[in-house]
């Protein structure tokens, strides 16, 4: 996993609530057996017409937002299927941060395991961010993971966000849970010797 420390980037606004992982990456694109290449089908059915041509009006096709690496999305982002391919698709398309007022549990975990930061703000903060991006499509936000802050131009105080201390260390250093879990070998082995609920 790649390290994540700070990011200064423009924003792609997607003011839709309950975006499910079937929208992020439709099931028919899950036939690949590697992690790479899902980005081209990110939001495929919102992004492309039946003829495969980009749909004007969908934000990923809007030239004003090209190259922006922060996705700003409505509440309950990533609900539905557990497919980690959704996080891979966002990452592969260049996103490193998704900002929302809350995330579906499985997606949040998958994002953290992919090196994609799910950054949770309050609903009023989220709405203020949507308004700020609507007023200035070039608005650049700064995410500082070590400080756990999201800085917004024109706002005196940065937004402070919460993240589990362990997951933060992982992301800062590019570690994942496997390294940690393997270090627990002796505790796991001891535990396995006594599982009285296995009959």
């Amino acid at each position: 996993m790649e390290q994540f420390q700070t990011l200064r980037s423009g924003v792609v606004p997607l003011p839709v609530e309950n975006v499910d992982t079937d929208q992020i990456i439709p099931a028919r694109f899950l036939k690949a057996t590697t992690r790479q290449g899902f980005g081209k089908n990110l939001f495929a059915d919102w992004r492309y017409g039946a003829d495969g041509q980009p749909k004007t009006g969908f934000v990923l096709n809007d030239p004003r937002y090209q190259g922006h690496r922060i996705l700003l999305a409505g509440q309950n982002f990533g609900c539905g299927s557990s497919r980690e391919h959704a996080a891979w698709a966002l990452y592969d398309a260049g996103f490193r941060v998704v900002v929302s007022s809350y995330f579906a549990d499985i997606f949040r975990g998958n994002a953290l395991n992919t090196g994609l930061l799910p950054l949770q703000v309050t609903e009023p903060e989220l709405q203020a961010l949507f308004a700020a991006v609507a007023a200035d499509s070039d608005l650049a936000l700064t995410v500082d993971l070590a400080a756990q802050t999201l800085s917004v131009p024109g706002r005196s105080e940065p937004i402070r966000f919460e993240l589990d201390a362990y997951k933060k260390e992982c992301l800062l250093n590019g570690y994942d849970d496997i390294d940690f879990l393997l270090s627990q070998e002796s505790a796991i082995t001891t535990f396995e010797q006594n599982r009285p609920w296995i009959f």
């Binding site: 036939k31 309950n76 609900c79 557990s82 980690e84 391919h85 809350y102 579906a104 499985i106 879990l181």
Partner: protein
């Protein structure tokens, strides 16, 4: 200290609690399938790791398999390669595989319970969000991402934060024609598609206890559709009767020891939950969804709500535009061209019996394409043994071979763009059953009635007839 069912299983599986709150959590059973496992096996190989406990794993091919001609090579090269990769990986790493052609093959959440692998007090994971199904037996079961699949393969553990606990109590008696599917659609409509995010849900109350294991699985299956990490139900005599004698269930003297342990699991009388919700069973009606998330459901005869909250109304408006409906309208009379009966929510023998009992002596409407996909080879065999296949065929239903099929439309079983499908599956997301497809979630009975009528009707009249039989 008083504990909930969830707490008891959680505590028993906590290998270590870390400062800061995360828990090294032990997994008893790990189920895998062809779609979310290949990258996990690759990661294992790249890191030079092996499976820690292959004996605690079970694999099947279900998500991406055809439901016709399973005895022939898979036509779609990508699907074939994915299924082949599962076969290779299982052979190389020593994982039991119930693949295509095996007598135990089927949807992963159907075969676990029917083989007796799913038992009270266990922890069960799978790279699939509907793993919550197994909670019906009083197990902690939940879906995980592919990185976590690798973690369980390598360490048999996950690093988890403990979810909050919610109890949903449904008391009273369900009316005739109201099934477990209507119960869970009713609950999700009330709590919303994100209403249980961060929680693990225990379903309780007399109406839940009165459900069969099949019905309980249907309820727990859809826990994820309100954002819950999982759902579970206290094990009782219904659970034990279902499990006894199944191939992987405890045998001989172990059986009595197991039951004695399982009886210690239910929530203590004075245990406290972080959130509680109560529902009255008699108020639940046959349900239908009208929007593009499972929380957008209503009683079949009701009208689509007109929302006043601006943000909510905007979301509903987008949803209704996709579905071709308008706020305030009733869906009675809506023409339906496709009916899909299947998926890990409703493809068990009880579901097939319900459908067959209704369609016996009737015919599907000529313009309706009605397919019924059994959840497993075992369900399919049982259906044939009971003659349900003949009944369904005579009514014009096409009985397919087991798999996830049109629930997620990874294989050829897709609903055409713009077409309306009444489906017994779990998700009505945009494009879920194929690009542009419009899904209305319902129970097997409502699906069967819709297939015969060719449009949505008030089921009350039929229900009376059924009750009189």
């Amino acid at each position: 200290m008083s504990r909930t069912l969830f707490d008891k299983i959680w505590d028993a599986h906590a290998v270590r609690e870390l400062p800061g709150g995360l828990t090294v959590f032990y997994i008893d059973r790990h189920l895998i399938h062809e779609v979310t496992s290949p990258q996990a096996f690759d990661e294992l190989t790249v890191r030079g790791l092996t499976l820690r406990r292959p004996g605690q794993m079970l694999a099947t091919a279900d998500h991406n398999v055809p439901t016709r001609h399973q005895n022939q090579p898979i036509q779609d090269p990508l699907s074939r390669s994915q299924v082949d990769k599962l076969t290779e990986n299982c052979a190389r790493h020593g994982v039991e595989l119930y693949g295509l052609g095996h007598a135990n093959q089927g949807i992963v959440h159907v075969i676990g319970p029917e083989l007796g692998l799913t038992q009270p007090g266990l922890t069960i994971v799978c790279g699939d969000s509907h793993t919550s199904t197994h909670g019906a037996f009083g197990a902690i079961a939940f879906g995980i991402g592919t990185s976590q699949v690798t973690q369980v393969m390598a360490s048999q553990c996950l690093l988890l934060d403990k979810p909050r606990r919610m109890r949903i109590t449904v008391d009273g008696e369900l009316a005739a024609g109201v099934s477990a599917k209507d119960v869970i659609l009713h609950i999700i409509a009330a709590l919303g598609t994100g209403g249980a995010t961060g929680y693990f849900v225990e379903y309780a109350g007399s109406a839940i206890r009165a459900l069969s294991m099949e019905g309980r699985m249907t309820v727990c299956n859809m826990s994820i559709e309100m954002g819950a990490r999982g759902g579970l139900i206290a094990p009782d005599a219904t659970t034990f009767d279902y499990l006894q004698g199944r191939p992987y269930a405890p045998q001989a003297e172990n059986w009595n020891r197991a039951v004695a342990y399982w009886q210690t699991l239910p929530t203590d009388a004075d245990a406290v939950f972080d959130a509680e919700h109560h529902f009255e069973a008699s108020a639940i009606r046959p349900m239908i969804t009208f929007g593009t998330n499972p929380g957008l459901g209503m009683p079949l005869g009701a009208t689509i709500p007109v929302l006043t909250d601006v943000a909510e109304a905007a979301g509903l408006e987008k949803s209704l535009r996709y579905m071709g409906f308008t706020a305030g309208e009733s869906l009675l009379g809506q023409e339906i061209s496709h009916v899909f009966i299947g998926s890990c929510t409703n493809s068990r023998i009880e579901d097939l019996r319900t459908v067959a009992a209704f369609v016996k002596g009737r015919q599907k409407a000529p313009h309706v394409e009605a397919i019924i996909v059994p959840g497993s080879q075992q369900v399919a065999r049982q259906a044939r043994a009971e003659g349900l296949d003949q009944v369904l065929a005579a009514a014009g239903f096409e009985l397919r071979e087991p798999g996830c099929s049109a629930c997620l439309a990874m294989n050829e079983d897709k609903i055409p763009a713009g077409a309306y499908c009444v489906s017994t599956s779990n998700r009505n997301f945009e494009g879920r059953q194929g690009p542009g497809a419009r899904t209305l979630l319902a129970s097997p009975l409502v699906a069967a009635i819709t297939a015969v009528e060719g449009r949505l009707v008030d089921v009350a009249e039929y229900v009376q007839q059924l009750a009189d039989v």
